[in-house]
Amino acid sequence: MDNTAALDEARDPLIIAENWMKDGKDVAIATVVETWGSAPRPVGSHLVIDADGNFHGSVSGGCVEGAVVSEAVDIIGSGKAKMLEFGVADETAWQVGLSCGGRIQVYVERLG
């Protein structure tokens, strides 16, 4: 669910993805589609990535963004969507300050 009465255009991942598209960039969109346990970001959260690996948004509050970004760059090349699954290890979770230890499934697809 959106968190403000008005969209925060400068930080909203889907708005950024649309702007990137208008600028002629290749874009991938990652979406949290399932969570188990205490996942840090809710189902529906987005991370958007361009072909150079720039990204906005979050699918895990920092735990797995790196892995999603590198997969996304491949997916921009191939055009083939992928379902990724991550177990957020307790130790990693602790290091980034999350009280999690959950598992998340992230759908990554190319825009267009």
Partner: protein
């Protein structure tokens, strides 16, 4: 994702209208369903439910797996009247996830001292609503008891299709209000959408309890949008 779907989705979100991006997880095809669009079959049923709950998730319908990403604007609560009830309602509404604003042209009531942490306009509803129009994801509660202040806002809320419209006052007060709203051009059908007396019937006695009753009724209205269960429990 289809670029056209992204554009459509963002346009709906910017306009504070609810929409769901429906993705078929088998082939990646997606489309945007706007609130009120007719979708047939089992998928239509889960979509209607998702609009009401506001929750995203994977669903199985008609033998296929879909992901529904539900984009519902954050609800606003506009309260006309900087009164006791509003003082209690402001912190409760914030906790429940509503952006609350108070409008009251009476500067003795609408003071920052009485309402420290809430958007407050010490102006007439006519002026404020011109700047910040009401919409389908806004609830309006009119609690001043003063027709000069309440009536315009109530009529505007009915015209804008606010998901909740409530007005404080006894049945007798409301009967007179109905006549005035008819004179302003509201239809009988629209006027019946007004919750009056305001609030769920929980036997509320104090201003704080009435605030609880109002907030509960607002939540019920939001979560029962478009369903048969458009309950109209009322009280104060």
């Amino acid at each position: 994702m289809d670029p056209y779907a992204l554009k459509t989705l963002n346009a709906e979100r910017r306009a504070r209208r609810a929409a769901i991006l429906v993705t078929d997880l088998a082939d990646g095809r997606d489309r945007v369903v706007k609130e009120g669009d007719a979708v047939a079959g089992a998928l239509g049923e889960v979509i209607a439910k998702a609009f009401r709950s506001g929750s995203s998730g994977s669903v199985e319908a008609d033998g296929r797996n879909f992901f529904l990403n539900v984009h519902v604007p954050r609800p606003r609560l506009v309260v006309v009247g900087a009164v006791h009830i509003s003082q209690a309602l402001a912190p409760m509404a914030r906790i429940a996830g509503y952006d609350m604003e108070i409008i009251d042209p009476r500067t003795a009531f609408a003071t920052g001292d009485r309402f420290p942490d809430v958007a407050l306009s010490a102006e007439w509803p006519e002026d404020v609503l011109k700047r910040q129009p009401l919409d389908g994801y806004t609830a309006l509660a009119a609690v001043t008891h003063d027709p000069k202040i309440d009536d315009f806002a109530l009529k505007a809320a009915l015209d804008a299709g606010c998901f909740y419209v409530g007005a404080l006052g006894s049945r007798k007060t409301h009967a007179k209000r109905v006549e005035r709203l008819l004179a302003l051009g509201a239809t009988t059908e629209a006027i019946e959408r007004i919750h009056a007396p305001i609030g769920l019937n929980i036997g509320a006695a104090s201003p704080a309890e009435i605030a609880v009753a109002v907030l509960a009724q607002v939540i019920l209205a939001l979560r029962s949008r478009g369903s048969e269960r458009n309950a109209k429990g009322e009280a104060a």
